[in-house]
């Protein structure tokens, strides 16, 4: 038995593998495939201040080793989350981190404040990087002042673990990371999806109702890995890495690049038990390479 546990600020995770927001529902969807309590943590689907229908169908398109989505934060709002969803998942023996989104700073603050009293919710992930909403979303994550402002506002009301999820659609992700670290973020997670587009050449129409959408999956892994490496060198707070992780080797690459923990997104669609295999694979790797603890490989890339 190797020690797989890692700490993201005050959250002690039993292992560094979490499910990514928007790709894992709230957990129950995956119970038939593995014991979700095995996870280091579960990131919920985005939670906003009000009910949101999301974008019109069609909302997804397949691309070479990846997919585009333009779901657009569909959820029933924070009150519904607290009333109807939280009771069903609060007994999980793993951390539940709520992914918080909105179009306005006030909205973010409102959601954070309402989530604060929930015992089981030890932290939130501020999604300032959703490319699929007209207002807010990615706009917060692509400008340093705006990223700083939303972080600051939420920090003021939210004393528990505050993770800020960064957008890759920027010239310098390090600068955004520094901006949110400067306003008191406890951790940054990256990357959200890359803005992309797909076209049906025969019909001469976009494949998504929103024309553009967010690209995820193995295709984006090299970009995600580069950004995690850049940000991990730059900030002092722990970095949570994601983007295309599909197996233990991928996850280990992110840890080596400097991520303290990882999230698995699109790969859950191809193999709903993939996270379980990734956790086991990391342990096997530690054994094979004679490491006692996963923390020994974090940032251990020899450059």
């Amino acid at each position: 038995m190797r020690d797989l546990s890692v700490d993201i600020h005050k959250l002690h995770l039993k292992n560094p593998v979490m499910s990514a927001s928007g790709t894992f529902g709230y957990g129950p969807e995956f119970e038939d495939f593995f014991d979700v309590n095995k996870l280091g943590g579960i990131l919920t689907k985005a939670c906003t201040s009000k009910n949101r229908d999301g974008n019109r169908y069609p909302r997804m398109a397949e691309t070479p080793m990846g997919m585009l989505n333009s779901v657009g934060l569909q959820n029933k709002g924070v009150d519904y989350f607290i009333e109807a969803i939280y009771p069903r998942i609060k007994s999980y023996d793993t951390h539940i981190i709520v992914n918080v989104s909105d179009s306005t700073i006030e909205g973010y603050v409102e959601v954070a404040e309402k989530l604060l009293p929930l015992d089981k919710i030890g932290g939130i992930e501020l999604n300032i990087s959703c490319p699929n909403v007209k207002e807010g979303g990615m706009a917060f994550g692509t400008s340093c002042p705006m990223a700083a402002a939303v972080t600051k506002a939420v920090r003021r009301v939210y004393p528990k673990t505050l993770i800020v999820k960064l957008s890759p659609n920027v010239t310098s992700i390090e600068e955004i990371a520094l901006a949110v670290e400067g306003e008191g973020a406890d951790s940054v997670s990256l990357i959200n999806t890359l803005l992309g587009m797909a076209i049906d050449a025969e019909k001469r129409r976009p494949l998504l109702s929103t024309i553009t959408g967010g690209l995820s999956g193995p295709a984006i892994k090299p970009i995600a890995l580069r950004m995690v490496w850049q940000v991990a060198k730059t900030v002092k707070i722990p970095v949570i890495g994601m983007g295309g992780i599909s197996n233990a080797t991928d996850a280990i690459e992110f840890l080596l690049a400097g991520a303290t923990a990882v999230q698995v997104g699109t790969a859950n669609f191809i193999d709903p038990s993939v996270c379980s295999g990734i956790i086991d694979g990391i342990e096997t790797y530690l054994e094979r390479h004679n490491f006692n603890s996963v923390t020994e490989i974090i940032g251990a890339l020899r450059t």
Binding site: G25, D53, M60, E62, N69
Partner: protein, 259 residues
């Protein structure tokens, strides 16, 4: 219902026409109960262009031999890869997914299938027939090459009507143009339909007009098939619903703009 992810063994790949084929698959364990209308998410291996699984209805089930069948039409890269599969290989399925058709009030129903949309209707015909419901089937296709496995339907249906766009089999025209609809009053207590979107909408209009209860099985694009991604949604009177978990079968009265 508990969902499974399992490697099935391919027992047979029966190619019916140059485009339609039936994969007969054997479960490595005891097959769980599968309801008419449910589907599987099929992993297409060895293809760089098919990263996501493909949703395919469960066409037939044999609990004694732990086997199930998929009726598939070659329309793109994924289905073409499946077409090439041969006996002895394995196929990974997540199943059984989705809801199922509901039982009718009365005891005479009509199933309307378009092309490969017939796939989920066979199990339904089987189930209804076993419950004593009188089942009629109307199958439409572009040409006679899109009308497959009619004998199977005949086993469970009192009559099987056929239309083809070019008249190469059955009546010429679209399913909604079939002479059976000419009758002022239709005594079906329910119509069940699966096929191209335009066809199902036409059937839905017709059912609404004739005042007949109607369920359709939607074929929305899916990424996960298990309710996790919210990509497959359809607008209903109660807001967006997932086609993969809350569907694929919907009563047209609940679908926005369908009745």
């Amino acid at each position: 219902m508990k969902k499974y992810m399992q490697d099935f063994k391919i027992i047979q790949n029966r190619r019916i026409t140059p485009d339609y084929f039936v994969l007969e698959l054997e479960c490595p364990e005891i097959l769980p109960e599968i309801l008419p209308g449910q589907f599987a998410e099929v992993r297409v291996d060895h293809s760089p262009q098919t990263y996501l699984r493909r949703p395919i209805s469960i066409y037939d089930v044999d609990y004694r031999s732990n086997r199930l069948k998929l009726l598939i039409k070659k329309v793109g890269i994924g289905s073409a890869k499946l077409f090439d599969l041969t006996k002895g290989l394995t196929l990974n399925l997540i199943y059984p997914l989705g809801n199922s058709f509901s039982l009718p009030e009365g005891n005479k129903v009509l199933l309307v299938g378009g092309g490969v949309g017939c796939a989920p209707l066979l199990l339904l015909a089987k189930q209804l027939n076993s419950k004593g419901v009188i089942v009629h089937a109307l199958i439409g296709g572009r040409t006679d090459r899109d009308i497959v496995d009619v004998e199977k339907f005949s086993t469970y249906c009192k009559s099987v009507y056929i239309t083809t766009d070019d008249g190469s089999l059955g009546e010429m025209g679209m399913v909604t143009q079939h002479s059976l609809f000419a009758d002022e009053v239709l005594d079906y207590s329910k119509i069940y339909s699966c096929g191209p979107d335009a066809m199902m909408r036409a059937i839905a209009r017709l059912a609404t007009f004739k005042g007949i209860d109607c369920e359709v099985s939607l074929e929305n694009l899916m990424a996960c098939g298990i309710g996790a991604c919210l990509c497959c949604i359809v607008e209903t009177s109660e807001g967006n619903k997932t086609t993969c978990v809350q569907g694929p079968v919907f009563n047209i009265r609940d679908l926005k703009g369908w009745s």
